[in-house]
Structure formats: structure tokens, C-alpha cells
């Protein structure tokens, strides 16, 4: 085997010493003769290279994909910086997380969320390789004699293939310093089977290790034993409070408009804060700078459309995405069980404009609005006639025919949603300094209106007319601004720093109602009712700095600090959050990782039942309630097999990781025993308790990202519990948290059967969650009013009721579910059409999503069933009843891309 002195990569037998690696070197490396490796040479590659390069100044370095040959650096060399953007060659869309690597200099960078990179190297000729999943790798040689601003365009290709260039420090994934941080490919999200064929960003995250859906079908999730309100969702850097659509079946993120999704469940970067358990950073597409194109999709229950294009070619682009469900229309075609109308739909609208002033300045304007609407109306009308005859005032009355008309109409409408506007300015101050300034407005609201009208007419004469109007409002408004700097002082440091400020206005709840009555013998009367929690203003500010650094060849460290404060109710809570992640490159493709992070959370969602609903209120910390706090430690081992001829090299397209974590939470909140809002949050501060929580576990992941068959297998073994020392919950005893599922398995397989057909399957298994179930009856004592004359002291009486022996005292059955989908693609004259057929819960397993117990009579003789009164032979029995949210759900969707 002979390798000529040629820069072009050479194929080699994978089983040989080179293991499929190619040689990379510059013109300064002058090989006197080709490097020859004997067919049967089984010596380690390093030994061979030592021999072949003996007597020259040439040094070498072996990486996963390359053998790098280079000359030692001259100390007098001047450094220059190559910086700029990586974009899609066709749409000119910036690419996030693309690898820019200069192998000869062993330097590189990953583009940030704005597509920007910066690498400093000695002046001279530089060989730059840029790669990104789903794109052809760009290789180019650039003569660098000064700081150079470039835009690298990558051409898309249709299949997922190996990324051949190593990056120095990506933000997520195997090569990242961090553990528990992943980038979820949009292509994977689009193909993951999902309810009603609607690809969903958040539900794709449910397949990650350490993550479980809060309830079947719901978008809300629990991460590493956290509550569903402990997850930070960012859309283009702006916080969204409620990402669930109607009952959580869909999340607010529309995959068509999504460019990039990063998910952190541990080792959180210092730039994120405000939630304890996870960060999901979703970045929208910017819009095609060249051509108009789009997608529209028609499904059983919803349709969506995306259009993007250039307003001013190469300078200004837009993207607009819209989605609406029409479940309301379908439901109203059938029997509504006594209802006149049931409106149940949601819509989303995303719009973004970006303008490129110059290579150094860009501005983005983003708008998002999502609404959920439920309208219910019913009416009844009873008309009857009857004869009246009898004696009045001692005289016999003749029969009188009387017509009675009784009418009632009820209407109720519930609306909730997010609205977000924000503007962003990106500026490159210098080759090493990139800046982002964002200002935005964000609003979440819930509004309910209802009306009950009734009237009674006798022989056409109005006797009584009443109406009752009610209104309910709650919401949050945020004005926020952030300033971020990306600074690359040298190749071993990548510093991010910034500041953020948010003005929150919480309106936890306002209820108002009015009642009017007309009686034939009375005057018109009306009355107003109003109850409200005061609106609460809060200031949240933070500064952060983090440095992602290389310590030698094998060590990487990311050290950061976030200092934040939250001021409300006359009190300020300052917090400091150290964030440290470290990784060590080990031989044979292994990498060890460890991290310690501290997170705080200042707002909470008050959820009073097993199901999350938009009526659950977001409330801030108060002067008597400290911010929630989490300390999280994790240790992990990642493994990406290298081609060294061993057995492991046959798994070259796979990545494996295993991680243990421990999370200690302070000041977590929950409802005290017996507290319930029933949609009313009056005096909410008195109904909650603050306590402690603990989660720990082991997570394992195996992923295959390349080839016709891709997918992942994730397993989590975990435990999580809570305790409230003040005794207001579970008598102060420690209890398992509702998401304390011991074993969780997620399997995702995506197979490209032919160019036109792809098959997708996901299977989930989870140990049962926990619920509070009454297993016994007890008696309770209550004070009752006494009669002053006969009993001068207060009385008590007892009432029978369900007895709950403890919080979360019942473990539900394990749940498992298989979801399948198939996509049929076909190229058409103007684009591509896709048929998606999807089957959720394919084998219709009736999962126990919600459970309660009730008492029923046990009839020994079935004939007694007809009797309303149980006989002596009957006895009461305690029966368990369950709700399965999704028994089985088929769907199909038609999508056309143009």
C-alpha cells in the first residue's frame, strides 16, 4: 500500500493500520518519498509513522478520521483570524453548529446560534474543512496574511452521512465538553411518529434519556425528576411560558419553521438561567435569501403552511408559517352529547424578516402568536301546556289552559396563548468579537368568558329573566433585553458573556362576573362580582460569563458563572450559579465527562391536578418564598468507536454514552394537602409549601446517526422524591414524586427503505408513575353551628369520606406504546409530495394515564342491578378506574413542498 504525497484523501482498507483515515498536510510539508505501508503490516500506526518520518522535521497526529502531517510552529509567526458565517448554499440560511476545522493547525470552531465562527491561526496557507449534517463537506485552501472575513456556503445533500471533520469544541454531542447536551436533528423530528402526523419538537425530546412525558400524549415533560414547569423553552432566544397546545397534544413549535434544536438536561451553559431541569433552545429559520418556496400540509385534523423567500435577493428574506386545526369543524358534524356547538382549535403564526446590512451587520424581526380556543354552547327550551282548575276564593274556577315556556342558553369560551415580538441585531465588532443584541416583548394569557341566560314565559308574558356573565383572566407580560458577546481571544479559549434584563408583570388571576335579574313583581336588579389577585411586578436581571477552553490536547473545560437577581414584593433575591463542565479524551474513542451546575427558578406553575392545563397559573416567588434551587452533578463516559480494526470499529456509525447524575433541589413548591384551586387561585401563597427534592439516576444512550437505518436506544434508571419539613404535605414524611418512574426505555428506529419510502417506529416503556389514591374510608370532624338557646357551646359532627394514606401512595401500571409511521415521497414537476401514514399506540395498549378509586355496590345477584336500593346481600367494594388518554390513533397527512 503506497500513499503518494498528495493532499487528496485516499481510501484505504478499513481493516488496515490506517483504519480508513486519510492523510492531511499542507504544501509546507515536503515528503521526500511516499509513505508505504505493507499489506500485511499489523504494527500500530504510530510505530509505522515514527519509522517513516524518522530523520525529517515532520510531525504527525492521528485523529478519528485523519492522519495530520505538519511542521513544528515557528514562534515568530504572526496570528491572523479567519471568521464569518457558514450558510446554506441554496437558501443562504445561516447554519448553526457547523464544524469549521483547520486540521493542519488543529484548530476549529463551531458556528454559534447565529451561524458565526472565528478561528485564529498563524498566517500562511490554511486548509479549511467545513461540514454539517445533511450537507456536503466544503474543503478549501485559503492564503491567510491578514484577518479574513468569509462566508462559507455548504451544499445540501439528501442523506445523512458521516461528518468527516472533527471540530474542536461543539456545544453539544459526543465531542462537546458537556454531558447531557444534544442537538436534535430537525430531520429526526420531522420523521418521528407523532400524534395526528404532526411532527412535534417537544415530543421528539421525550425520546431523550432522562426525559419522560408528563402524561400520555402531552407535550409537557419531566426531566431528571423535575416538575413540568422546570423546563426553559426558548424560541429564538425568547422565553415561552406555555408551549402546550390544546391539552398538550401539540407544542407551540412548528417544525417547518425550525432550523435548530438544542436540548440540555445537565451541564447547563451559563448563558441560560431561570429554570431548574432543562433548556430547550429552538431557533427558527431565517428565510431563503434566493428563491421563493414553501410547504403546505393537510392532515386529518390540521393543516399548515410555510412560505419563505427573498424580499431583496441576498439582502432581505422572510419566512411565514401558519397552522390551524379544524377539530371544531369535525366535532360539530356529529352528536355533541347535548351541546349545540363545540369549538376546539388552535393556531400558530410565525413570521420572521431578516436583513443583511453588510457582512458584519444583520437584523432580525420575529413575530410569533399561538392561540388555543375552546367554545362550548348549549341551549334548552321546554314548552308545555297544562290545564288549571280548582277553587280560588271559595269559587270553582273553570279550566284554564296555560302555556309555559322555559328557555336556557349557556355559552363559554376559553382562549389562551403566547404572543411574542422581538428584534435582534448581530454585529461583528472585530474578527474575534461577535455581538448580539435582542429586545422583545412576550405575553401569555388565559381568558375565559361565559354567559348563562334563562327566561320563563307564561302565556307569552315574561315572568322571569336572568343572565349571568363571567370573565376570568390571568397572564404574564415580559419586556426583556439581552446582550451577548462571543469572544475568541485565542484558539484555546472561547468566551461568551452577556447580560439580560426582564420586566415581568404577573396577573395571576382576575375574576369578574355580573348578574342581572328581572322578576315580574320586582324591579330589575343587577350586581357585579369581582375577585382578583393583585398584579405583581418583578425585575429579573442577570450577567454571565463562560469560557470554553482547551487544556492541552486531551482536556477541555467549560467554566462559567451566572449572577442573577430577582426583585419583587419589596424583596430582592440575588443568586450565584457556577457552571463547570470538563471532559477528558481517552484512548480508543472514549471520552470522560463531568459537570456541576447550579440553577435557580423564580417563577412557578401552580398545577393542582394530575393533568396540566393552561389554567394552571404562573406565579413568582414572593417575599416569603425563596427561589427554587438545584445543584446537579453528573459524570459520564462517551464512546465513539474508531476504525482501528477492532470489533468496535464495526460500530463506527454509532455513538454511546452513559451518565450518572445527582440533583438536589431546594425550595421546590407543591400544594399543601387538601388545597385545591378549582380554577381559583385566591390566596395562593397560603396553599403551597416549600420543601426539598432529590433525583438521581443512570442514563444510557446508543445512537446511530449515519446510514440508511438510524435511530437511538435510551435507557434511564432513576429515582426522585420530595419532602416538606413543615409537615403540610404528607405529614412531613418523604414521598416519591409523581414522576418517580424507575425504568424508562425509549427506542427510535428510522429506516430509509427506498429513495421514496421511509419507515419510522418509536417504542416507549415506562415504569408506572405515582398517584394519590384513596384506599380506605375514614371519618372527618367538622364544626357546626349550634343553637344559642339550647346549647351554649360549639358542636362538632363527623362526616365520612375517602382516606388517602399518603401523597403518591399508589404506583400505576407500567406504560408502553408503539408508534409507527411511513412516509411516501415523490418528486413532482415543481417540488415533492409526501404522504404520511401514522399509527399511534399501534397495539392499543390501554395505559393507565390517570387513576382514581370509587365505592360501588357489589351485587351478588345481577337482577338487583335494576333496583335502585341495594339489598342486604350487597356489599360495597372499592373499585379502581382509569383513563387512557390515547387508546389508538391512526392518521394520515399530505404534504407538498415547492
Amino acid at each position: 500500500m503506497i500513499f503518494p504525497a498528495d493532499i487528496k484523501a485516499q481510501d484505504a482498507k478499513k481493516g488496515g493500520p490506517l483504519g480508513g483515515r486519510t492523510f492531511v498536510y499542507g504544501e509546507d510539508v515536503k515528503l521526500q518519498r511516499p509513505i508505504e505501508i505493507g499489506e500485511n503490516d499489523r504494527r500500530p500506526l504510530s510505530e509505522i509513522l515514527e519509522e517513516k518520518l524518522a530523520g525529517t522535521r515532520i510531525q504527525y497526529r492521528i485523529t478519528a478520521s485523519h492522519v495530520l502531517l505538519f511542521l513544528p510552529k515557528e514562534k515568530s509567526e504572526r496570528n491572523v483570524t479567519i471568521y464569518g458565517y457558514v450558510i446554506d448554499a441554496e437558501s443562504k440560511e445561516t447554519l448553526i453548529g457547523a464544524n469549521v476545522y483547520l486540521p493542519r493547525h488543529l484548530s476549529g470552531d463551531n458556528t454559534n446560534v447565529y451561524g458565526h465562527f472565528s478561528v485564529t491561526v498563524p498566517e500562511g496557507e490554511a486548509f479549511v474543512q467545513t461540514s454539517y449534517v445533511g450537507y456536503k463537506t466544503d474543503s478549501r485552501t485559503i492564503l491567510l496574511n491578514k484577518d479574513t472575513l468569509i462566508t462559507i456556503s455548504l451544499k445540501p445533500k439528501n442523506e445523512l452521512s458521516e461528518i468527516v471533520v472533527e471540530s474542536s469544541r461543539p456545544e453539544t454531542g459526543f465531542a462537546s465538553t458537556r454531558s447531557g447536551a444534544v442537538t436534535v436533528p430537525v430531520q429526526q423530528i420531522m420523521r418521528t411518529p407523532s400524534i395526528l402526523g404532526e411532527a412535534d419538537v417537544v415530543k421528539a425530546l421525550h425520546l431523550q434519556p432522562g426525559v419522560q412525558s408528563a402524561s400520555a400524549g402531552q407535550a409537557s415533560m419531566s426531566v431528571r425528576g423535575g416538575n413540568t414547569d422546570q423546563n426553559l423553552f426558548l424560541l429564538d432566544g425568547m422565553l415561552l411560558y406555555n408551549v402546550d397546545h390544546v391539552l398538550g397534544y401539540e407544542s407551540a413549535f412548528m417544525p417547518d419553521a425550525v432550523k435548530h434544536v438544542e436540548f440540555y438536561r445537565g451541564s447547563f451553559p451559563a448563558r441560560y438561567g431561570g429554570r431548574l431541569s432543562s433548556v430547550t433552545d429552538v431557533r427558527m429559520k431565517d428565510g431563503d435569501m434566493q428563491n421563493y418556496h414553501g410547504t403546505f400540509s393537510v392532515g386529518l385534523l390540521s393543516s399548515h403552511m410555510t412560505v419563505e423567500g427573498a424580499i431583496w435577493k441576498d439582502h432581505t428574506s422572510f419566512i411565514v408559517s401558519a397552522r390551524r386545526t379544524y377539530l371544531d369543524w369535525i366535532l360539530n358534524q356529529g352528536d355533541l352529547d347535548g351541546l349545540d356547538k363545540l369549538g376546539l382549535y388552535f393556531y400558530d403564526l410565525n413570521a420572521k424578516i431578516n436583513h443583511k446590512f453588510s457582512d458584519k451587520d444583520r437584523i432580525y424581526l420575529t413575530f410569533y402568536s399561538g392561540r388555543d380556543v375552546i367554545d362550548v354552547s348549549s341551549s334548552s327550551k321546554e314548552v308545555d301546556s297544562y290545564e288549571y282548575s280548582g277553587t280560588e276564593y271559595g269559587k270553582e274556577q273553570t279550566a284554564v289552559q296555560t302555556k309555559r315556556e322555559d328557555k336556557e342558553r349557556t355559552w363559554m369560551g376559553v382562549r389562551w396563548g403566547n404572543t411574542m415580538y422581538h428584534a435582534r441585531w448581530n454585529h461583528i465588532f472585530s474578527p474575534k468579537l461577535f455581538a448580539n443584541l435582542t429586545a422583545g416583548y412576550n405575553r401569555f394569557f388565559l381568558k375565559t368568558d361565559g354567559k348563562v341566560e334563562s327566561s320563563l314565559k307564561m302565556d307569552g308574558v315574561l315572568q322571569r329573566e336572568q343572565s349571568f356573565d363571567m370573565r376570568f383572566k390571568s397572564g404574564i407580560e415580559d419586556f426583556s433585553t439581552t446582550f451577548d458577546l462571543d469572544y475568541h481571544p485565542s484558539n484555546i479559549h472561547h468566551v461568551r458573556m452577556g447580560a439580560a434584563y426582564t420586566l415581568h408583570t404577573f396577573r395571576p388571576e382576575v375574576q369578574a362576573s355580573s348578574m342581572t335579574s328581572f322578576y315580574i313583581y320586582q324591579n330589575n336588579l343587577s350586581e357585579q362580582f369581582k375577585t382578583e389577585n393583585k398584579s405583581i411586578r418583578a425585575h429579573e436581571a442577570a450577567v454571565y460569563a463562560e469560557d470554553d477552553m482547551s487544556l492541552g490536547e486531551n482536556w477541555q473545560l467549560n467554566a462559567g458563572l451566572r449572577a442573577a437577581l430577582f426583585s419583587t414584593d419589596g424583596k430582592t433575591f440575588p443568586v450565584f450559579e457556577p457552571r463547570i463542565s470538563a471532559s477528558r479524551i481517552l484512548p480508543n474513542g472514549f471520552r470522560a465527562k463531568g459537570s456541576y451546575t447550579v440553577m435557580h427558578q423564580y417563577v412557578h406553575k401552580l398545577q393542582s391536578s394530575q393533568i396540566a392545563s393552561p389554567s394552571d397559573l404562573w406565579v413568582p416567588v414572593t417575599k416569603d418564598m425563596k427561589p427554587m434551587e438545584a445543584h446537579q452533578f453528573s459524570l459520564g463516559l462517551a464512546f465513539a468507536p474508531v476504525s482501528d480494526g477492532s470489533f468496535a470499529s464495526s460500530l463506527k456509525d454509532w455513538e454511546f454514552s452513559a451518565e450518572v447524575f445527582y440533583k438536589k433541589m431546594n425550595n421546590v413548591i407543591d400544594f399543601i394537602d387538601g388545597a385545591s384551586f378549582y380554577g381559583n387561585s385566591k390566596g395562593w401563597e397560603t396553599k403551597i409549601a416549600t420543601g426539598k427534592g432529590e433525583s438521581y439516576g443512570f442514563e444510557m444512550n446508543a445512537s446511530k446517526t449515519v446510514g440508511k437505518t438510524t435511530g437511538m436506544l435510551n435507557y434511564t434508571l432513576a429515582k426522585t422524591d420530595r419532602w416538606y419539613p413543615d409537615g403540610t404535605i404528607n405529614g412531613g414524611r418523604r414521598f416519591p414524586y409523581r414522576y418517580d418512574r424507575r425504568h424508562v426505555v425509549h427506542l427510535l428506529v428510522q429506516h430509509q427503505l427506498t429513495k421514496r419510502i421511509d419507515l419510522n417506529a418509536s417504542w416507549n416503556f415506562m415504569s408506572g408513575a405515582l398517584a394519590s389514591v384513596a384506599k380506605q374510608q375514614s371519618y372527618y370532624i367538622e364544626p357546626v353551628a349550634s343553637d344559642l338557646k339550647t346549647q351554649p357551646f360549639d358542636r362538632v359532627q363527623t362526616i365520612s369520606g375517602d382516606y388517602y394514606s399518603g401523597r403518591n401512595n399508589y404506583r400505576l401500571e407500567p406504560t408502553h406504546q408503539l408508534d409507527l409511521s411511513v412516509n411516501f415521497h415523490r418528486k413532482t414537476k415543481h417540488g415533492e409530495r409526501i404522504w404520511n401514514i401514522c399509527l399511534i399506540n399501534a397495539y392499543c395498549h390501554l395505559n393507565q394515564d390517570l387513576l382514581y378509586s370509587t365505592l360501588e355496590w357489589d351485587y351478588s345477584d345481577p337482577s338487583e342491578l335494576a333496583s335502585s336500593k341495594p339489598s342486604d346481600t350487597c356489599h360495597l367494594k372499592r373499585v379502581l378506574k382509569q383513563y387512557t388518554i390515547i387508546p389508538i390513533l391512526p392518521s394520515f397527512t399530505y404534504t407538498y413542498k415547492f
Binding site: A774, I781, G801
Partner: protein, 346 residues
């Protein structure tokens, strides 16, 4: 409102099914229930035992009540009025600040609890004024009617920590006599009949921020029965309130009682207010009990009504309350008085 979401969920996809009978058998627990008024006679402690389907009386339960470690009552439970199994004892010797405990045993079941008697609030005075207010009943409004607004001025106990929330409940006892008709004999009135309005439950606390937990609220007590589910959450069934609404240790409780019906023959009205100082546990317990009574297990979007308890090893609640009491007595239009068996004009 959760009902709406729940209905929507059901309409979408979900299905309900019976899992079967609960097979798990939890050990029965001894239930100890007592809400004792310190300083009062005839106080009850009631014993039951839990069971899977029907709680039963725990007969012959041996128990011991201690006050500041001294045994004040040691007995076995017995039948009380109304088929209750328990024991009636005098709490006259129990004082605010006392540490009161109970230990009970029935067979293998044991239960114990300890509580501290809170300091009573002081009723500084009661002012009244006549107001016209509407009455609400079964989702309708009635005409304006004369009411008497009682403004009960309260003061926190001397030396109490005003930063620490204290909890209370109020009871109103009302007796109203309104003379309505007279029997005449030989031109003389020999008998005056009267109507008794002793409806203790009907009064309005809509003007009271502490009882409504809010300003600008206008709701009546249980008689109003406005069956709108999220408004029903506003009902304060046991009339509990907390000191967070006090300013500088003082608060004026406002309650509107319907005025006695006017009569040519006169009327009188006796109204007594008792302000109980209760523990935080009892406050939470009474709120939870209110939720339990309106809990519908079929609508599981409602939170489960777990009832707080301080009974170690058992179930129930053992609390001792202290109270302050004040009474008002009104007489009006008494145009007749009884002299030698005959009513004569004053």
C-alpha cells in the same frame, strides 16, 4: 374550569375503563378526631377506624389526654349522642399556651398527637350600622333588604409576633324573636306570638377582605349557592381567616346579618360572635375538608383531596382552640310589656 378542559380531553380521544377491585389491603388506622375549645365543658374526642369501604366506630378505645405532661383524662371511649363513639370531657382547665397531647390505643392500633393551644385574639368592640343589601339565593338576586353590619374589632394577643401568620375562624350565633300577632281577650292582649329566626348560617361576609381572601369581592356564604364552578372555590365554608390581613395587629371583621323583621309588637335580636384562634394545621384541615365535600372522583382533573392530619400512626385531627367571645343584644319597637299576665302598652 378544568372541567371544560377535561370534557375537551374526553371528546378528543381518551377512554375510561374499570381496572377492577382494589386488592391491596392497607392496615386499618385508628382515627382520632377532636376540635376542642379550651376553657369549655362538654368537649368530645371521637374514635373510628378506617377500612377499605366503610369506616367504623372504634369501640372501647383506651386513651389518655395530657396537658403539659399531666394526665387530665384517662378513659375508654363509649357511645355518645348520635351513635358516635368517643368520650366527652371538660376542657375548662386547658389554657392558651398549654401543650396538649393524646395517646390512644385500640387493639393493635395506636395513635398519638400533640398540639399547642394558640393565644386568643381580643375582641375590642363591636360596632353596628344599618345597611341595605341584596340577598342571593339559588343563582338569583332578591330585592334590597335591611341588614345590620357588625364590625367586630379584633386585636392580636399582646406580645405575639406579628410577622408570624396566625389563624382564626369565626362563628356567629343568632337568635331573633319578632312578635307578630296578638290574641285579644276582652279587649286586652293576653298572648303575643312570635316568629323565631334562628338561621345561623345566613349572613354575608362579602364585605370582609379577610374572609373573602380578597378586596373587592362580593359573595355570600353557602346559602348563595351560585353554581358556577370556579366561583364556588370562593366559598369559605368554615369562615376561616388569617392575620395577614391585620394592620398593626388589628383588624375589623365585617359581617352583614339580615335585620329582624319589623313588627308593631317589637322584636329582639341576640347575636354572639366567637373568634377561635386555631393552628395552621386546623386552618389547612378545614379548607381541605371543604374541598373534600365538593370533590367529584369522576372529574379527576380536580386535585385529590388529601386531608391534613397530625395524628402519628393513625388518622384524623387533634386540635385545641382558644376563643374570644362577644355578644350584642338588640331590642326594638317593644311597644308592649307583660304586667300581671296582661300586655300593656309601654
Amino acid at each position: 374550569m378544568k372541567k371544560i378542559f377535561f370534557i375537551a380531553a374526553i371528546l378528543l380521544t381518551s377512554c375510561e375503563s374499570e381496572v377492577g377491585e382494589l386488592l391491596e389491603i392497607e392496615a386499618p388506622r385508628l382515627v382520632v378526631n377532636a376540635l376542642i375549645a379550651a376553657g369549655e365543658d362538654n368537649q368530645e374526642v371521637i374514635f373510628h377506624q378506617t377500612s377499605k369501604t366503610e369506616a367504623t366506630s372504634a369501640f372501647q378505645t383506651k386513651f389518655e389526654i395530657r396537658v403539659n405532661s399531666n394526665v387530665v383524662c384517662s378513659a375508654k371511649s363509649d357511645l355518645l349522642m348520635g351513635d358516635r363513639n368517643g368520650y366527652q370531657f371538660s376542657a375548662e382547665s386547658i389554657r392558651p399556651g398549654d401543650r396538649v397531647s393524646i395517646e390512644a390505643q385500640n387493639g393493635t392500633m395506636k395513635a398519638s398527637a400533640e398540639t399547642v393551644v394558640p393565644e386568643p385574639v381580643t375582641i375590642v368592640g363591636i360596632d353596628t350600622m344599618s345597611v341595605m343589601a341584596k340577598r342571593y339565593s339559588y343563582s338569583s338576586i332578591r330585592n334590597l333588604q335591611p341588614h345590620t353590619r357588625y364590625m367586630v374589632r379584633l386585636r392580636l394577643p399582646e406580645g405575639s409576633n406579628q410577622n408570624e401568620t396566625q389563624y382564626f375562624r369565626v362563628r356567629v350565633y343568632k337568635d331573633v324573636y319578632a312578635w307578630s300577632q296578638a290574641t285579644e281577650k276582652n279587649g286586652q292582649i293576653t298572648e303575643i306570638r312570635y316568629n323565631i329566626d334562628d338561621d345561623h348560617s345566613h349572613f354575608s361576609y362579602s364585605q370582609d377582605p379577610a374572609l373573602c381572601e380578597n378586596e373587592n369581592n362580593l359573595l355570600e356564604n353557602s346559602d348563595s349557592a351560585i353554581e358556577i364552578d370556579w366561583l364556588s372555590g370562593n366559598m369559605n365554608e368554615y369562615l376561616v381567616f388569617r392575620s395577614s390581613f391585620f394592620k398593626d395587629g388589628e383588624y375589623t371583621l365585617r359581617l352583614d346579618l339580615p335585620a329582624a323583621k319589623s313588627s308593631d309588637f317589637g322584636w329582639y335580636q341576640n347575636v354572639r360572635f366567637r373568634i377561635y384562634s386555631i393552628s395552621h394545621l386546623e386552618y389547612n384541615y378545614l379548607l381541605a375538608l371543604s374541598n373534600l365535600k365538593s370533590y367529584d372522583p369522576g372529574v379527576i382533573t380536580n386535585g385529590e383531596p388529601l386531608i391534613p392530619s397530625n395524628i402519628m400512626g393513625g388518622a384524623g385531627i387533634f386540635c385545641v382552640e382558644s376563643f374570644a367571645e362577644s355578644e350584642t343584644f338588640f331590642e326594638d319597637h317593644r311597644t308592649y310589656e307583660l304586667v300581671d299576665g296582661v300586655y300593656v302598652k309601654k
